[in-house]
């Protein structure tokens, strides 16, 4: 628990730090970060759906894939309407690099060892993303519709975080 909290804090520092290093992120960068985080969680969920045999883990992964896809579809529609093109940035790149490493690490695991590692990473990932949303991305968002979508996203991802934290106490 202490370890996962520490990892989450480091991840948040990386996330927030990278965003802040370029002053306040623009809406195009914020959209890219939020969209990227969603796509990465979908990729983790798809891996879990291929590897896990645990019904609770499978149900959680299905929920992640479905909910994150819904947010990202909405985000794409909104960006199209606003004429905003998501802009790649160091925070998105760091997220993607970390997630790629995690996918590779988890690919070597099977059975309960995979389940434990997947769920622990979901806790850490959602903690980091939620803290970044609450402290950096939402405050910085300029467009009201984008901000509203991020706020709904934060409510959703907080549910996911609690779900993952609960699951982490059950999966052994």
């Amino acid at each position: 628990m202490i370890k996962s909290t520490l990892v989450a804090m480091l991840a948040v520092l990386a996330l927030g730090g990278a965003a802040l290093a370029h002053d306040v992120p623009t809406d195009a960068q914020i959209a890219h970060i939020a969209y990227t985080a969603g796509q990465l969680d979908i990729a983790e969920a798809e891996q879990a759906l291929q590897k896990s045999k645990n019904p609770d883990v499978i149900a959680f992964a299905e929920l992640m894939a479905r909910d994150h896809k819904a947010v990202n579809d909405e985000a794409l529609a909104l960006l199209g309407k606003l004429g905003v093109t998501p802009e790649d940035n160091p925070t998105s790149q760091k997220l993607a690099a970390d997630a790629a490493a995690k996918l590779k690490e988890l690919s070597a695991l099977d059975g309960p060892a995979f389940d434990v590692a997947y769920v622990a990473n979901e806790v850490t990932f959602h903690q980091a993303v939620n803290l970044a949303l609450g402290t950096v991305l939402i405050p910085a968002a300029q467009n009201a519709d984008l901000k509203a979508l991020l706020v709904t996203g934060l409510t959703l991802f907080t549910e996911h975080q609690q779900h993952a934290e609960h699951l982490a106490t059950q999966v052994k």
Binding site: A70, T152, E159
Partner: protein, 103 residues
């Protein structure tokens, strides 16, 4: 089957007193259940309308109803016996509310 009875959309219900039953809509959006009807009575219909981008459920804690709500869909339940029923979303248990059913 206790307090609320799950039903498919029913055109008109008669309340126990014989007066025409009312229909109320509870809108789900942005990860929240909207306001619950104030004057809900036994025999009235509650329509759950999911305007959100996410799949939700409206699920009674006492097991009296459990409605699946894919994005953009609606489903109805008919209020049964008077009382209060707590409900939540099975996928996002932080989403909660309470129906008050009057006689």
């Amino acid at each position: 089957m206790r307090v609320l009875v799950l039903a498919l959309a029913i055109a008109l219900q008669l309340a126990p007193g014989g007066s025409a039953a009312a229909e109320y809509t509870i809108v789900v959006s942005a990860m929240k259940f909207g306001p619950v009807p104030a004057g809900l009575r036994a025999g009235d219909t509650v329509v759950w309308r999911n305007d959100d981008m996410f799949r939700h459920t409206a699920t009674a804690r006492d097991g009296s109803f459990d409605v699946d709500l894919p994005p953009g869909t609606s489903a109805s339940v008919v209020a049964g016996e008077p009382g209060s029923i707590e409900f939540f979303c099975k996928f996002h248990p932080g989403m909660t509310g309470t129906l008050m059913v009057g006689p």
